[in-house]
Amino acid sequence: MNVAVARSAYAERSAPAAPMPTLRDDLRQIAAWIADNARVLDLGCGDGTLMAYLRESRAARVYGVEIDDESVLHCVRRRLSVIQADLESGLRMFPDQMFDTVVLSQTLQAMHKTEAVLHEMARVGRQGIVSFPNFGHWRHLTSLLAGRMPVSPQMPYQWYDTPNVHLCTPKDFEILAGRLGLVITGRALLANGQPVRVLPNLRSKLAVYRFEPK
């Protein structure tokens, strides 16, 4: 009797026949760089889309860190291990080299202490993966030429309400990585989910990098 009640109540929650969530473009690339059974830390994991995908497709053991209440609730509903904390201080709780991969997806540009976060990623993980919007995309440049700050699908904010305080281009990131002693082991410059081969610095919308400490 009780079991039946529980089953129907569960069905209520998961019944709406939503199509399989399509993974954000950068998440697909990130997942491709993660080994089966890997121990993964997803920083700023949001509603847990990547974590759930890695758990299902890679049998990864994933922890997420997220500050937002609603996002934490979403993760709980997906039965994910999520830790509510501020990324810029919350990483302290993890010991050195605890994870195979530490992911920071589309959050780097919103970090105040960019260098410290990258250092911490390299400390707690054997490899790090970051993704960020390419500020150097040509549409952003035309917007600037027209005298306006760029607003685009990957950066959908006005200048006065943007959380993005540290926007950069792929080249900028590579210079910083070098300075921090991080070795870049993978790079994907994407537009609409596809790698951009011609003029990627201008034509890619998203940059995804994999790195290791030196």
């Binding site: 009780n2 079991v3 569960y10 934490v72 609730l73 039965r79 509510q84 709780m93």
Partner: protein, 378 residues
């Protein structure tokens, strides 16, 4: 989903004849445990949830008594039909711990060896002893494994201890507003409370029952001290501020500020129903709780046997067990690669927040228990 109360409930008592060996080396020859249950134990006997109480609470977790409709269970907003811990799905057990004063054997009980109340001779019990006694109650109720063990504050310490003492008998540990051990400051507050009780002339070294008195003054101070630590500075500022009950300063030492009136009222009320020896005993159990102690302070090793999945919740304004204390547990669980979710609720009510109905908190616990129910139904 309609939310509601479990309605009228009836406490029961289970008698245990087999002696219980205590952490101190002492033993209790036989004892009673008072408990309540809500909901129905299913055929598979896998939907049981144990709720552990903190310092001053009891087995009366939810619902009310027909003869005392004002006596609402202490976690009535959390447990019931349609509540976060839904009694339409779960069989919920509340138990009064050994040494408490709400029906289970404690200092007020008659020691069969002497025919008089135990009083000061009641052995000091620990969180581990409580958990052992709870496990025996589970045996008698036919519960081999709890779907979850849940508690707030000291109750959460019991839930945590379950994962170490009986790792195979607990599916999920839900630990709210807690710490892996008391800090020096926590112990200091407990010591002030105990000193207030023990220095009351009516305490008589703990054997006040035969004298027909209770150390009411000491208990009042103990409760006032405790109560201050349950509230946040902001909460007190909002509720009382510097409001006066008198038209102006009276230039005396009577009750003039609202906060004084409130604390004294709380103290008086508490001294009416709570036993002073129990207060000593439970605060001592709090002081002693430290699962890492056996491992040179290493909580990671202490939690290594745990197999349960964990939900930990802390409240930003809780200065008794602040978020940093809960994070110590989370960190040790992560290192042990246990499944753990940790939420930090930004709520203004200090330590007491765990007893209050805060939507973010209750939705989170509800979602977590929804998963537990779903997992069982699979």
């Amino acid at each position: 989903m309609q939310s509601g109360s479990v309605g009228f409930v009836t406490p029961r008592t289970m008698r245990f004849e087999e002696p219980l060996e205590l952490s101190s080396g002492a033993r209790i020859a036989d004892y009673d445990l008072c408990y309540e249950t809500y909901g129905t134990l299913n055929a598979a006997r896998d939907n049981a949830v144990l709720i552990c109480h903190a310092l001053n609470a009891s087995h009366h977790v939810a619902g009310r008594y027909a003869d005392q409709p004002g006596q609402v269970g202490w976690w009535d907003n959390m447990i019931g039909p349609g509540q976060p811990v839904d009694t339409r799905r779960f069989f919920v057990v509340g138990v009064n711990n050994l040494g408490s004063c709400f029906g289970s054997t404690g200092p007020m009980s008659v020691n069969p060896a002497t025919g008089r109340p135990y009083g000061a001779s009641f052995p000091v019990v620990t969180v581990e002893d409580w958990v052992n006694a709870q496990a025996r109650l589970a045996d008698r109720l036919g519960i081999a494994r709890f779907a979850a063990v849940m508690g707030g504050s000291l109750g959460a310490m019991q839930a945590l201890s379950w994962t170490i003492q009986y790792p195979e008998r607990i599916g999920h540990c839900v630990a709210i507003a807690t710490a892996p051990r008391l800090s020096a400051q926590n112990i200091a507050f407990n010591d002030v409370a105990r000193t207030a009780i023990r220095s009351d002339p009516d305490f008589h070294g703990g054997d006040y029952y035969s004298k027909g008195v209770v150390p009411r003054g000491g208990l009042r101070v103990a409760r006032m001290i405790g109560h201050i630590t349950y509230l946040s500075d902001d909460d007190m500022a909002e509720r009382f501020g510097r409001l006066l009950r008198t038209p102006d300063y009276a230039f005396g030492y009577g009750v003039e500020f609202e906060v004084e009136s409130y604390l004294r009222y709380q103290g008086d009320k508490f001294a009416e129903y709570f036993d002073a020896n129990t207060y000593l005993l439970i605060t001592r159990a709090l002081d002693y709780f430290d699962p890492a102690r056996a491992f040179g302070g290493d909580l990671v090793q202490a939690l290594a046997p745990a197999q349960a999945r964990f939900l930990l919740v802390s409240f930003t304004t809780d200065w008794r067990f602040p978020p940093a204390r809960a994070r110590e547990i989370v960190e040790a669980l992560v290192v042990n690669e246990r499944e753990v979710t940790y939420a930090e609720i930004d709520a203004p009510h200090g330590h007491d927040a765990f007893l209050l109905e805060e939507p973010r908190y209750h939705r989170l616990v509800g979602a977590y228990f929804n998963n537990i129910a779903a997992e069982r139904a699979r």
